[in-house]
Each structure stands twice: as structure tokens, then as C-alpha cells.
Symmetry: C2
Subunit: 257 residues, 2 copies
DNA sequence: GAGGTCTATTGACGCATGTTAGCTTTCTGT
DNA sequence: ACAGAAAGCTAACATGCGTCAATAGACCTC
């Protein structure tokens, strides 16, 4: 009975477009970006814990995250497993456009602002805007690359390094959309959230946070991470940003049409 | 210096087409399937351990697995982490078509037969054959769904259940392309392979295999699994096949064009 | 500002898993 | 048939992590 955790406040204020389309920006021209902005039919704000999409749902629209973080979760037994995190500018359920049902749920981590695009509009995009269609496929391939890295992390690292790697990844992803502050990374994650992302118990996540503090790698308080030395943290987590394709990874020079 | 493990024998015998395109089959008509068959320019056989594609490679062709198994691997330090397995009919590097470099390597697990399609041909497909383009996007989305399940498995299950889940998944995937035998599942996997897929040490993989035997869930000998009761094995592994989208998961009724 | 709830923290104990070492079985090539 | 190599197996001990129990701090509501 945690449904009340969510707090829904619809709104329809205009988009600035400033952060719209996130990672897709770098692969699209202004005309394409305006086109995408025009696709967004509704914008909503939701509170922490709101269940935005449910595993098994059949949808007729796709969701873009504009502000905040969301978790991709799979519930099994009475536990929750977080299998992914999205940052502003990410489409969270493009796969719901091509696949019938969703294989996992989408839950707000902290307050979020989301935009919706109807699948009808997306079908038009696929037909008329090959550049945008290509960028959307790219976005889902990037998610898959991140999934593979998470698999490797779970196979390779212990709990403290997993947590450090998570923050290193988020820091780089936020950097790519111009959203970092110098010596910190602010998130609404609880230690239980960290535990569910790293596949350990909440108590062990607490131990891991303590170890990062003890080692002087980072201080994590109520989800916010503080560090004087991102390079050291990234070295500690064996972080290598290649899998995020930050250098313009699309084969732009070889358009499909 | 394990390079000698691979044994390369080129060949150009004709395709039967019988198992071609695997999971894509169910979403395409005969005309589309013939078209795909025509795309395959070369067919090769390779021996166990052959490194088919290297992390960081920039490719100008994509590879379809026709016979055998391949691993998606990431090497780090002196260890290997297996982040995915493909079965016959799977494209193994469609992402290399849209992304510049590969984020992981592809290695033959046992002898394999592979076909190659040039990216030039794929660009034509994207332009002229929306049905096939859609099916290919679907294939990469299905891979992402499987990745998410692996993340959950690593977060949730202990080593014996991970191994059972792996075989349950492969059994279902092979069933979907009509390639199962009644009470067994034959693979060329060593216990070290199982360990690298499950994120445990080889010795612990051995313990886990022993436990499955002891419990009467399954007998695994040199990669081949034998069981009298697949349902029991799947219950033990908490396996639920939804994430494999075996029921015709594409939104066929809503074509893009 | 008092009470309640969620979150963070600590300690004790047990199980899962890693590491090292050595041994046995099976495969492979000659 | 033989020898070497690869794979599988077993035991002993160390560490990571889970569980339970209890407490402390932070935030919210009234």
C-alpha cells in the first residue's frame, strides 16, 4: 500500500526545449528538434514513487523524461529489482512502441516531469523523418549498451565499487546533457534504492556507503554524493565511459536515405 | 595466447533457409524471408573460441548466427565477463550498424556457422523494406529485454538458480525456433563458461552444478543438461518466459507504413 | 514541540562465494 | 595405446553478504 507515495499534479506550461531530447540532440538539427518538441502532447509532473507505467501494460503513447530520475523495475516475490535508471532527455519506453507489452515497470525516483508522445505520431515519424527514426533506434541501442555494462558490473564488482560505478555513470550521463555541478551529484536515491540497483541488501548498501566514506572516495548523504576527485572515484570503480558513446556514436556520415 | 583455440574453415555451401532469421521469421512473410536470405553474402564456419568481432571494432557488415552459440563478452583486467548469449537465427551485431564501435566482443562458443550482411545492403533494407526494418529493431529490443532479465537474475538469484535460469531461457529460445530435443539441452559450455555468465568463480559454478544434481533438478555434464522435468527446473529458477515475447510480440496490426 | 514514520546505522551470527592447492577424469593428438 | 592438456571435482580457509535485532537521526504531521 505504497500507492499514496505518489503525488500527481498535471500541468501544461510551455516547454523551453532547452534540455529536450537529451542525448538525441547531438544527432539532430534544429529543425528535427523543433519537430520532436511539437510531438509532445502533454507534460505532467509527478511525485516520488509514482508508478508511471506498469509491467504488462499495453501502451499507445511513449514517455520522455524531462526532469528528474526514473527507475526501470521488476517486482518478484516481495522484492523490487531495479534494472535501469533514466536521466532527463531519455525516452523511457520507446520499446513499448514496437513491442506489445512492457517487460518492466517505470517508477519515479523523486519528483519528475514527463512528456508524452502518441504512438500515432511516432508512426508518422518513422515514415517521414528517417533521421529522427534513426536517432530513436540509437537511443534504444544505447540503453542496451548500458544494460550490458550493468551485467558486467554485477558480475565483476563488489558492493562499494558498484555504488561508485553507478554514480560515475550518472555523472557522465549528466555531463553529456550539461547538467552537472562541480563537486557533487544530487539524487533522491535512498540507500534502499542503491541496494535494489546493486543487488545487495539495504544493510549491506549502508556498509558500502560507509566504506566509500572511510576510503575517502566519496561521501554519500541521502542520495547526494560529494567528492573532491571524480577521477579517483572513477578509477576506484574501474569506470570507462566508452559504453556511453559520448563521442557522437551514430554513423552520421552514412545516412539511411 | 588462446588464439589457436579457433579453427577457421571458410565454406560457401548453399543455405537451406530452413532456420534462417530465427525469431524474425514469425513476423515476416515468405517474400521478406527470401529477401533476407538474398542479403547474406558470405557464410563461414569457425571453431570453438574464435573471436568473431572485437570490442572497439568499426564494422561495415553485420553477422547472423546460423548454427551454434556465441557469447557477448567484455574483458577487464585478466577476466572475461559474458554479458549475453545468442542462438541460431539471431543477429549478433545489428547495433554495429547504427553505432560506430562495438561495446563488446563476440566469441564463438563451440563450432559456429555465421552469415554476413553488408551495411550497404542494410541501408537499402531500411529504405525499401519497412517490415524488415521493424523486425530488426524488434530484434534489438528483444536483446535489451533479455539483458534486463539477466540484470534481475544477477540481483536476485544465487548461483545454482542462475545456472538453472540460463538453461531455462535457452530451452525456451530454442523452442521458439523449433530446435529442442525432449529431455536435454546440448551446449558446448564448460563450467568456466557458466561461471563467467553467472558472475561466480569456476569453482563455485562447479558447486552449483553439483547442487542441481543433488536436488534432482538437472544433471549437467560437459555443458549438456538433462532433466526429466523442465517445469520443475523452471519453477526452481523462478523462470517466467514473458520477457522473451514468444507470443508474437510485435505490434503487427499497426504497421509503420 | 510531540509523536510517528521513514531512513540511516551498528553489532552478532550464519550462509554464499572467493581463493588456493591438489587431485581425477575426459578429451585430443600422435 | 599413450601422453599431454583441458575440464571437472574436492577440501580448507578467508571474505562478502544476508538476516535479525536494536538504536539513532531525519523528516512530516498535527
Amino acid at each position: 500500500m505504497d500507492a499514496i507515495r505518489g503525488d500527481i499534479r498535471s500541468s501544461d506550461f510551455p516547454l523551453t526545449g532547452e534540455f529536450l531530447a537529451g542525448r538525441l540532440r547531438e544527432h539532430l538539427d534544429q529543425d528535427d528538434l523543433n519537430y520532436i518538441e511539437g510531438l509532445i502532447e502533454t507534460v505532467e509532473e509527478h511525485g516520488d514513487g509514482t508508478r508511471l507505467l506498469e509491467r504488462g501494460d499495453v501502451t499507445n503513447k511513449s514517455t520522455m523524461l524531462i526532469e528528474g530520475y526514473v527507475f526501470r523495475t521488476i517486482e518478484s516475490g516481495d522484492r523490487r529489482y531495479i534494472v535501469g535508471v533514466q536521466v532527463p532527455g531519455d525516452f523511457v519506453d520507446l520499446h513499448g512502441f514496437a513491442l506489445k507489452r512492457l517487460d518492466h515497470s517505470i517508477v519515479a525516483a523523486g519528483p519528475v516531469k514527463i512528456g508524452s508522445v502518441s504512438h500515432e505520431s511516432l508512426r508518422t515519424v518513422m515514415q517521414d523523418r528517417p533521421n529522427i527514426a534513426r536517432a530513436m533506434w540509437f537511443a534504444t541501442l544505447l540503453d542496451a549498451s548500458i544494460h550490458r555494462k550493468w551485467i558486467q558490473i554485477l558480475e565483476q564488482l563488489d558492493a562499494p565499487k558498484r555504488i561508485a560505478h553507478l554514480y560515475a555513470e550518472l555523472h557522465t550521463r549528466l555531463e553529456l546533457i550539461g547538467r552537472t555541478v562541480p563537486r557533487a551529484l544530487r539524487t533522491p536515491f535512498t540507500q534502499l534504492d542503491l541496494a535494489d540497483m546493486c543487488g545487495v541488501s539495504a544493510i549491506h548498501a549502508n556498509r558500502a556507503v560507509g566504506k566509500l566514506r572511510e576510503l575517502g572516495v566519496a561521501e554519500i548523504r541521502r542520495g547526494d554524493l560529494y567528492t573532491d576527485d571524480w577521477d579517483r572515484l572513477k578509477r576506484y570503480a574501474r569506470f570507462n565511459a566508452d559504453y556511453l558513446y559520448g563521442d557522437g556514436a551514430l554513423k552520421l556520415d552514412e545516412g539511411w536515405n
